[in-house]
Amino acid sequence: MLALVKSCTIYGLESFLVDVEVDISSGLPAFDIVGLPDTAVKESRERVRAAIKNQNFNFPIKRITLNLAPADIKKEGPHFDLPIALGILSATEQLPAESLKQYAVVGELSLDGRTKPVSGILPMAIEVKEKNLKGIIVPEENVEEAAVIQGIEVIGVNSLKEAVDFFKGDLNIKPVRLSNEKDFSPESEGDFSEVKGQENLKRCLEIAAAGQHNVIMVGPPGSGKTMVARRIPTILPSMTFEESLELTKIYSIAGFIAGRSGLIKKRPFRAPHHTISAVGMVGGGRIPKPGEVTLAHYGVLFLDELPEFPKEILELLRQPLEDEKITISRISATITYPAKFMLVAALNPCPCGFYQDPFHECSCSPRQIHNYFSKISGPLLDRIDIQTDVAPVKFSDFESSSVTDSATIKKRVENARCIQLERYKGLNIYYNSQLTPGLINKFCKLGRAEKLLLRDAFERLKLSARAYNRILKVARTIADLEESDNIKEIHLAEALRYRNLDKYYNNLKM
């Protein structure tokens, strides 16, 4: 007897429909799976055998051949357990074959036949909808994740028996419907109003958020770099539905969602430790999984103690910073993950933290400091538009009377983003940090006074040619925050201040 069950598999961030074909014929008892299965899929033979038996169905003592089609894509993960079990039951006529055709089935089975949650449910649900199937059968714990997608029936089952009864028509399971208003994002990251003092830093971050500029913060240990960075997502503009869906898909594939529901509405904040591996940072592995740069998609990637990261890891960031995606090539596949994040890096001014502090003696040798800074390559720094200082704790006493909260800043940021969206319509860029040198000439026109100021600055402050484009982009964002059509002298003068790291470098030269 032949049976067919539809299921899905994940490739990169996309999902594909997979036909699980089961053929049962007489001969020596055997159970073979073909169609590029990986270890987890092959092992499902044992789980399926035990589950069928323990749910009081008959496991056929015959020759079972199972094909996963299309046969040229590698299939991974344990989510084929449930479709394989249903296929065998259908092929042995313990289940009517007709009813199976309308649904895709995914789920892992335990030996006693209960279902277990799997990752990547959201992209699978999207694929099911695109292929015009009626619905998807998922483990109960995955129901809410799949239910985000409207227009398909999402059926949650607790066991193999429930699934069989559903297809027989003995059991009526109501499709789960979920409004996508529900938000499961991690609890609040705090608010900018909780940051004492640091007015200068807050201003920098507001500009950075408004133009999606990458930021590097230099400050002594314990000055609150991490604390402030954690709050950056609260001032970034709200995500659109498409952005939320894409992000949730990533988290679904990474397996971070099982058991929770709804779309991710808050922008992610990822702070990997500096011991992270290359695969951890950009993704990959035997079974490719998205790395930190992809998990920070549409959000903030925070690298604390930047010079402590191995140089190779930092250089890996160059592609995502440039192309907003990361391509990883492995023997089995070449996969592209999106990686559109705002890079926020933090470092101490030197290994001991007191270099150039007028009130403390720094105990590092010039060579140590030089080595510390030289970990950060020029090409990486070129992609970071804003360099700022974090004031030592003693200056947090100087708190200004007007404390702004995240919501107020966010409003200003969203406003500035709107202006940019309008201006760059049809250019395939969305914010100032994406400006290419050609577009800078077009959109960052300077008047006479501004040109004079810039020329003066280059002579007096010994700016590098590299700094030129960075300064113009930041000045453009400052002008947008002030809702000014042209970059004025005042905007340019402010932008010239956000390059403090260059100062450390200049200091080191002599």
Partner: protein, 364 residues
């Protein structure tokens, strides 16, 4: 009288000090006499032990003063010994003048009146500025600015003198063919153009830490006085100042903020009687040098007062000649961060303030 080749040869033997080299040279007169000397002859010299004698005999065969002269010539340097007329007079007057000097550049510079400028390697922007200004002023009066070409104050002292067109002299703690610290290669080239670089160490000597005190005594010994710009509590610059006192030369010190750790050394010198120096005239008076240039630093506010707007004036008034943090400025000025940053840039471009790493701003 002794032979200069013998001096060069003796100077190449490690562990022999200046004093002992002169002693040995005055007995054997020339190279052939020295090469023929037996261990008994050497032991006759007071202070030469059995061990040292063996050491000298071991190295005697290996050193070749003729090859050394050729090697120096290849590097563009000449060798001046205490016997030569070019040897600086002031240096010859100290207790233990180095018998051999390798000179890169114009040796005539060493005949000029000289003032040493020394200080910490990790200088503040104030210290760097001061070193530069004083070096410039001194050099423009044809006074040789002597320093050690180290990082920090030394580098800025040379830079100031170079900007004024020299003269300046760098005294190295390594062989003249070695650039240390390596990033100062450009400064080194510039010094050779308008002054000279000297060292007492043979070609190829590495910059070992115990070379530097010996180098410091040459810095102070070449100079009529030593100006300490910024020095931490324990600092090589204080060693130079001590040498200057031993050699009967003047010691000058630049005062700094009592808050700054880098002022400690200079302040201690002032407490001990070093002359507190505010401008270059203070040095010239003390050294009885004729003040050929009446130097007047124009009060900055007056020159720019007219072109400043009210905001800029307000901010400038809140600043000081020691570093003020921008957070402090924000609260005191009651302006937004954006406004303040833009004002700071404008003041900086007008040359009235200097913004330092770490968010500090200072009047200059």
């Amino acid at each position: 009288m002794e032979d200069s080749k013998l001096l060069i040869a003796l100077n190449m033997i490690p562990m022999l000090g200046s004093k002992r080299i002169i002693d040995i040279a005055s007995i054997f007169k020339d190279s052939s006499g020295f090469l023929k000397a037996t261990s008994e002859d050497l032991m006759q010299i007071p202070g030469i032990s059995n061990k040292l004698c063996e050491h000298i005999l071991k190295y005697r065969e290996r050193v070749d003063p003729y090859a050394e002269i050729v090697r120096a010539k290849k590097a563009g340097a000449i060798i001046v010994t205490v016997l030569d007329i070019d040897y600086p007079v002031l240096l010859s007057q100290i207790y233990d003048p180095p018998p051999v000097l390798y000179v890169l550049g114009d040796p005539a510079i060493l005949k000029y009146n000289a003032v040493a400028i020394v200080g910490t390697r990790k200088a503040s922007s104030y210290g760097k500025k001061v070193a530069e200004i004083f070096a410039k002023d001194l050099a423009s009066m044809e006074i040789n600015v002597v320093s050690g070409m180290a990082r920090g104050i030394d580098s800025y002292a040379h830079k100031g003198a170079i900007d004024a067109g020299g003269p300046t002299t760098a005294v190295l703690g390594c062989g003249i063919d070695i650039v240390y610290p390596p990033e100062n290669i450009n400064i080194m080239k510039n010094i050779v153009q308008c002054g000279c670089i000297i060292t007492s160490f043979p070609m190829g000597t590495r910059p070992l830490s115990n070379n530097f005190p010996a180098r410091n005594r040459i810095i102070s010994g070449l100079s009529l006085g030593t100006l300490v710009v910024e020095a931490a509590e324990k600092s090589g610059s204080l060693i130079t100042a001590d040498f200057a006192l031993e050699q009967g030369r003047e010691v000058f010190a630049i005062p700094g903020s009592i808050m700054s750790p880098y002022s400690r050394g200079a302040h201690r010198l002032i407490k001990q009687g070093a002359k507190l120096v505010e401008d270059v005239n203070d040095i010239l008076d003390e050294l009885h040098l004729k003040n050929t240039i009446i130097h007047k630093r124009a009060p900055t506010e007056n020159t720019f007062g007219a072109s400043l707007n009210d905001d800029e004036k307000t901010v400038l008034n809140l600043l000081d000649f020691h570093p003020v943090h921008i957070e402090q400025l924000l609260v005191q000025s009651e302006k937004t961060s954006g406004e303040i940053n833009s004002i700071i840039t404008r003041l900086e471009l007008k040359g009235l303030i200097s913004s330092l790493p770490g968010g500090y701003i200072m009047k200059i």
